[in-house]
């Protein structure tokens, strides 16, 4: 590797690029971007050894706004790209950023299998319960009676998806929820998520002030979860299934499964494999 050892202290600014976000003023994603850069600074990770991978959506624009290696792919496929990258390059710290539509609708199958596969990734989902980039349609986490979309004027009519419960059932190794209204807490949770081995899910309630202006109230509705982290999946399940979605600021579950990382250690020459075909 061409990486050279850096003898300097990184600040959050060192992880931010010059590119100006396309987000609306007041979007929760600004503070999540800030939190990511603070977390990387807290860990003093060299920017060249970090990659941020995303799909499509407002929050999926984050890679270009950082100064680490970035990958902005197609809608719903951020997790497979990150999985391939981490398995091929286990030396890198790989973060995945995206929204609720990208992760739980078009990318839903990858979400299940990323939890199950437990590759050492940190998945930060900015959940605003709406498709913002396409100007306001119901997402998997939208309430069934939300009538704000021209696509489903009478409401989506189907129950919303509970990402943390699904993540737990599918085998995620670290589950946390936080709110973009407290970026220092988000940075702290992301730091813990990166440090924890295996697949870590951080759900960040990140309001869409344009298409869900009522979410401006979220900052008054969230409360610090009155629980301590549990390593008991059954307890975590009960906790997640009974909360109202506004318990934030805490790691809600930590598992002890080892991360999946197939080893690439063999040193045979390709020519040695020709023996397979010899008569």
């Amino acid at each position: 590797m061409d990486a050279c050892v850096q003898q300097r202290d990184y600040t959050a600014k060192d992880y931010k690029s010059e590119v100006k976000p396309i987000w609306c003023p007041g979007c929760g994603d600004y503070s999540v971007l800030a939190a990511i850069t603070r977390a990387l600074a807290a860990m003093q990770l060299a920017p060249e050894n970090v990659a941020v991978v995303s799909g499509i959506g407002c929050s999926s624009r984050i890679p270009a706004y950082t100064s680490v290696y970035g990958f902005h792919g197609v809608h719903g496929r951020a997790l497979p790209v990150a999985t391939g990258l981490k398995i091929a390059r286990p030396d890198l710290t790989v973060l995945v950023t995206g929204g609720d539509g990208d992760g739980f609708s078009i990318g839903g199958n990858h979400f299940l299998h990323a939890c199950r596969r437990n590759v050492d990734l940190t998945y930060i989902v900015m959940d605003n319960q709406v498709y913002g980039m396409t100007k306001g349609q119901a997402s998997p986490t939208t309430e069934p009676d939300w009538e704000g979309s021209k696509l489903t004027p009478d409401g989506a009519g189907i129950e919303s998806f509970h990402p943390l419960v699904v993540a737990l059932a599918a085998g995620a190794n670290f589950i946390a929820r936080c709110s973009s209204s407290d970026p220092n807490n988000v940075a702290d949770i992301i730091t813990q998520a990166i440090r924890h081995p295996g697949f870590s899910l951080v759900q960040v309630l990140s309001p869409c002030v344009t298409f869900r202006p009522e979410q401006l109230e979220w900052k008054h509705m969230v409360r610090t979860a009155a629980v301590d982290v549990t390593e008991d999946a059954a307890r975590a399940a009960r906790r997640l299934m009974t909360d109202d979605g506004f318990n934030v600021g805490k790691v809600l579950y930590k598992g002890d499964r080892p991360a999946y990382q197939p080893e690439a250690k063999g040193a045979a020459a390709v020519a040695d494999l020709e023996a397979d075909f010899a008569l």
Partner: protein, 575 residues
């Protein structure tokens, strides 16, 4: 086909053991110094369906099946009639059937072939633990002139795990077959083969594809199973870790292609293998690899389509989706091996080109080629190893431009871990640094550059296999596994005094107009040969190249293979 050949089929219901017996026969023929080519056909059942092994043996390397089979052995006839169209016979053919297993199906009888009774089951019963497929093997071996010592060596080696009793039973059943067939009418007997077989391989097209990937430098593979591509992945699964690579099973084809895009973005040459339905799912992300300029290789082992089609049988009908299936203007590479052996070279070359040109390469093989086993000359190593251009050291304060608009169109590619070169790879249109851009000028510049790097590259002579008479006024144009029968047709035509040239195109896209014109210089008529219902290759050639005024197309859908005789007939009856 230069040299002598003999063609035979063993067929039977599931459990009859025809695939086992066929594999043993192939192994014995290889040790006897003959070349061999074996394809399989099977019913749709997961296990225990009817199966047929079609084998051609010869004294020279074999490119294709013959027009007809000399010998069909039905260990039993249950549902075997379903294969009739794939097993052409004639009045000079022999059909061996077991009278205890019922009548020979009418479709075979109609060929006029001579029928011979061989009570395989009854003969096997006389041997403790004897099996009818071994009696069939014995009869065939005796008729084509395989010596007993070679066969016994194969039986001992391959049945070692089953113990001495199993070996003895197989040998006894085999001998019963040899003895019973001693007075049967003659089929071609091959002369003794070359005794030194150390420079020969027994390999399937799918294995050769896997080996080509490793020789090309692939060290990350994402896999989702699909017939008939799974064997490429299953061969690579244990092979990759031995050479320091990794294979991951993905949750679907959307994941497998995006995993290899991730692996390759990380600097590791990456590949996946699939068939038509999987390729269809991958097309969006193939466009991502093109736009973000991430080298990847996708093998499509084609099967009968559309939709699920006939999953176990071959067709050359994914050419259109491979060439035209991506949205937007997305120049990429499409390559096609022209034989089982060439699966190795073409895959290795595809990895080399994808890495050098930082784009997506699709390699089109097919079920017939992929699942065929050939005994062939060992494939010599060539020096194509994937080489990505890395960025030079940057001057102080200069920003790295990942998508620099270079003269060649290839922009030096940094990989994560390189300090000072961080960038974001993007499927969004972008400017030279990689920042998303919706400006017309950036779009134009990046489109130009992504096209320029492909059309400006020197592909050398590998774009096509050109054989036959240089000054011929007649040419056969073909691709993929249709090149095998075309080669044999060429030999027959030339032996009969016709001047003909064969152009088997390996680099389907980008097109090579100058080289194509040079290859067809002086050619006045062209026969286009392919295995697709709509003539996809013919239409592609018409759209992309200047063809002579006289053009005929020989094309039909799978699963029936193009036969050399049909090509010969088209040429000789062309007036």
């Amino acid at each position: 086909m230069s040299g002598q050949t003999v063609s035979l089929v063993m067929a039977g219901s599931g459990g009859a053991g025809v695939v086992t017996a066929g594999s043993l026969l192939l192994e014995a023929a290889a040790r006897a110094g003959w070349y061999a080519y074996m394809t399989r056909s099977s019913g749709p059942q997961i296990r225990g369906g009817e199966a047929a092994v079609m084998i051609r043996l010869g004294t020279e390397p074999i490119a294709s099946h013959d027009d007809r089979f000399h010998l069909l052995v039905g260990v039993d006839w249950q549902n075997v009639g379903r294969f009739a169209a794939e097993i052409p016979l004639g009045p000079e053919s022999l059909i061996i059937g077991d009278p205890g297993e019922g009548e020979t199906p009418e479709v075979f009888v109609r060929s006029g072939a001579q029928q011979i009774a061989l009570p395989m089951k009854a003969l096997a019963k006389k041997v403790p633990d004897g099996r009818p497929n071994m009696v069939a093997f014995g009869a065939i071996a005796g008729m084509i002139g395989l010596t007993e010592d070679v066969v016994l060596g194969v039986l001992r080696d391959s049945l070692k795990r089953k113990g001495e009793e199993a070996i003895a039973a197989s040998i006894a059943a085999f001998r019963a077959g040899v003895e019973a067939a001693a007075d049967f009418p003659a089929v071609p007997r091959l002369p003794a083969g070359k005794s030194d077989t150390s420079e020969r391989w027994s390999i399937t097209g799918n294995e050769a594809t896997g080996m080509g990937a490793l020789r090309g430098g692939v060290r990350f593979v994402a896999a989702y199973p699909i017939t008939p591509a799974t064997e490429v992945l299953e061969w690579l699964a244990p092979a990759l870790p031995k050479v320091g690579g990794v294979l991951v099973q993905a949750e679907d084809e959307l994941a497998s292609i995006n995993q290899i895009i991730g692996g390759s973005y990380g600097g590791v040459p990456s590949l996946t293998a699939t068939s038509g339905p999987g390729l269809a799912l991958m097309t969006e992300s193939l466009g991502l690899a093109v736009a973000a300029e991430v080298p990847i290789v996708v093998i499509d082992v084609m099967r009968v389509g559309p939709s699920t089609g006939i999953a176990t049988k071959s067709e050359q009908a994914d050419l259109n989706i491979a060439v035209y299936g991506l949205h937007g203007d997305a120049p990429h590479l499409v390559l096609a091996p022209t034989s089982v052996a060439d699966c190795l070279f073409t895959t290795q070359w595809a990895v080399h080109l994808a890495e050098s040109l930082q784009t997506a390469a699709i390699v089109l093989t097919d079920q017939a080629m992929g699942q065929a086993r050939a005994v062939m000359p060992r494939s010599a190593a060539v020096s194509f190893i994937g080489q990505r251009e890395k960025p030079a050291v940057l001057a102080e304060g200069v920003q790295y431009k990942r998508y620099a608009n270079t003269a060649s169109g290839v922009s030096p590619m940094a990989i994560p871990g390189m300090a000072g070169y961080t960038y974001t790879a993007d499927g969004l249109e972008h400017n030279e640094t990689g920042t998303p851009s919706s400006q017309a000028s950036d779009h134009q510049a990046q489109l130009d550059k992504r096209l320029r790097k492909l059309i400006g590259y020197n592909y050398g002579d590998h774009w096509a296999d050109i054989t036959g008479d240089q000054d011929a006024d007649t040419a056969i144009l073909t691709w993929g596994s249709s090149a095998g029968p075309a080669r044999e047709a060429l030999e027959r035509l030339r032996a009969a005094g016709h001047a003909v040239k064969l152009v088997a195109v390996r680099l389907i896209s980008p097109v090579q107009p100058e080289k194509f014109a040079e290859a067809l210089k002086g050619v006045e008529r062209v026969l286009v040969v392919e295995q697709s219902h709509s003539g996809q290759f013919h239409r592609y050639l018409r759209a992309q190249y200047d063809l002579p005024r006289q053009v005929k197309a020989l094309h039909h859908p799978g699963p029936l293979a193009v036969r050399p005789g049909a090509i010969v007939e088209h040429i000789t009856q062309w007036s």
